[in-house]
Amino acid sequence: MIRFVVRRLLLLIPILFGLSILLFIWVRALPGGPATALLGERATPERIAQINKAYGFDKPMITQYLTYMKRVTRFDFGQSITLRKDVTAELVRRFPATIELSMAAMLFAVGVGIPLGFMAAKRERTWFDYGAVTASLIGVSIPVFFLGQILKWVFALKLNWLPTIGRLAPTRELVHHTNFNVVDSLLAIDGGALWDAIKHLILPGIALGTIPLAIIARITRASVLEVLNDDYVRTARAKGLRTSTVNRVHVLRNSMLPIVTVIGLQTGLLLSGAVLTETVFAWGGMGQLIAGAVLDKDYPVIQGGVMFLAIVFVLVNLVVDVLYAFIDPRIRVS
């Protein structure tokens, strides 16, 4: 198992290497450039050339790449052009915000999606099942941005139940050790701050979690339906086990493999959904940072940010693969 994990981590190196090249070329293929974005209406050919020279964008692409990679190996992603800040420091500072949001979204998606899919399967071809299937179809097709705006309008602006933007009330004082607000408020033993952090997480969490929820519910339903027809479930019932035991020990556990797979994949997609959600709710995480950077053609921020997300994506899928082996002993041997 350890060898497997190490091998996968080593595999990360060529993946990230290839990604860095693609990214490098892609950002430079975007129309316009950082200088144009920075100068806006004041742009003149001379000033653009001047800024490009200052950041080394006038050199050949290959030279630029080599200089860039030399720094990246020291985890230095350079300076942001528009924010004039150290990209690595900025990413590290904002990273917890994005992870906290993603985890809230995933918690919602898994916590609702698995029971929903399970109950739909157990009540196959009843109104509950049809309702769940229809709801999940709607769920996957709602754009995150749109859902975010609707939720904000209804629950924050009209009903005034929940905050509209940000991660904490502006007046709240909280010492940030980890930048995970939930963790920090627990460390500070501050119930008010904890509740505040959670309230801020609800709407963005739902906006971001709805698509994965719908997908998880659908996969769970399909997987449970298949397992329910398996012979060992009949054996479990023939043993006289209580229905709850049969469901928990035999049905759910055996349905988990495909569910865990989509959870892993969805976690990756979540990170891209976070870009939109964070914009709607002014979340101040990596998503918002990257979204802004794309508009400003802030090459170092885009490159660093996407690399960061890629690393998270690969690590999440590594965790999924390890979980696999725990769920299914047949994978463990081979």
């Binding site: 009949r234 054996t235 043993k239 006289g240 086990l241 209580r242 055996n254 002993p329 041997v333």
Partner: protein
């Protein structure tokens, strides 16, 4: 003779399938089993053997199925009993062994876990005691190094070993009744004999009642005291085993016997039953076997032949049965 342990009386099971059509999978089946007795149910695929077994244990799907008749286990009516009550019967008083030991065991749980969960469920013992009992059971069904095997997963065992595990699970709380649904069909021939021997031993040692479901007359010959022959949801002939083999009277029974190699090793030509089990007519229109029967006549159509007791013992559902004492092998 003692009172029968299991009495199935006029059992009907009807499936409502898509399009509102109804399939009478079991259509008025009656039989009884005493403690220590092994009763066979034999018939081709689709004759309703498994559905009968599942009905006894209340394992049929709850939706789209209607059942009627009576199933008494030690005097307790099982048909229509609540799921909760049936959970106390299943695995405790009546256990089942299924056909395919590869798919019938949960691939992601250890053998030990699958054994102990039955034991703790029914015997109310603690984990450690349950493990001891589990090892004992594996030992009893002839699995070497039982303590080690408890930690194994099903895929680490051979097919024969897995079926022994299934039998161990069935034996976990000393049930009075075991229903074995084609327990040897998925196994190699040599292993089949061993598993049958094991079941025979269990019945003898624990005075268990055994219902042996099979399409293999060889299995019947090896283990059953009496036999029910099923065709298209009904019993068409039943008798004590040696009578049935010596003097099969229903033409379907005779067809089955003619289509298997002779059990005493003597030479004879194997004659498969013509047609397939799907060439049936509804019992309401006559004998379901009529489309395939070599002795069919007009009398066989119009209404179903009644199941009647024959003076020579056993029961028979045929208007023109073969004469008494005419073995299949002297020609038919």
């Amino acid at each position: 003779m003692s009172e029968p342990l299991l009495v199935v009386d006029d059992l009907h099971v009807t499936f409502k399938i898509h399009g509102g059509r109804a399939v009478r999978a079991v259509d008025g089946v009656s039989f009884a089993v005493r403690a220590g007795e092994t009763v066979g149910i034999v018939g081709e695929s689709g004759s309703g053997k498994s559905v009968t077994a599942l009905a006894i244990l209340g394992l049929l799907p709850s939706r789209g199925v209607t059942t009627s008749g009576s199933i008494l286990l030690n005097g307790q009516q099982l048909l229509g009993a609540s799921e909760h009550d049936m959970q106390d019967v299943r695995g405790r008083r009546a256990a089942m062994v299924f056909q395919d030991p590869m798919t019938s065991l949960n691939p992601v749980l250890t053998i030990g876990r699958q054994l102990t969960e039955t034991i703790t469920r029914h015997l109310g013992v603690k984990r450690d005691a349950a493990r001891d009992r589990a090892a004992e059971l594996l030992d009893r069904v002839g699995i070497p190094e039982p303590r080690q095997r408890l930690k194994n997963y099903p895929h680490q065992l051979s097919g024969g070993m897995r079926q022994r595990v299934m039998i161990a699970i069935a034996l976990a709380s000393d049930p009075a009744l075991i229903i074995a649904d084609e327990p040897t069909t998925a196994l190699d021939v040599t292993i089949q004999a061993q598993v049958l021997e094991l079941l025979r031993e269990v019945v003898r040692e624990s005075n268990t009642a055994l219902v042996m479901i099979t399409h293999d007359l060889g299995v019947i010959a090896g283990i059953c005291e009496s036999v029910n022959v099923m065709y298209s949801g009904r019993i068409v002939e039943s008798n004590e085993r040696h009578h049935l083999f010596a003097s099969p009277r229903h033409h379907y029974t005779r067809g089955l016997l003619a289509s298997v190699p002779r059990l005493d090793g003597a030479q004879g030509r194997l004659v498969p039953i013509p047609g397939s089990p799907s060439d049936v007519i509804a019992w309401s229109e006559g004998c379901a076997f009529a489309p395939r029967c070599p002795a069919v006549s007009d009398a066989c159509r119009g209404q179903a032949p009644e199941l009647v007791s024959s003076p020579e013992g056993g029961t028979l559902r045929c208007v023109q049965p073969a004469p008494v004492g005419m073995p299949v092998w002297s020609g038919r």
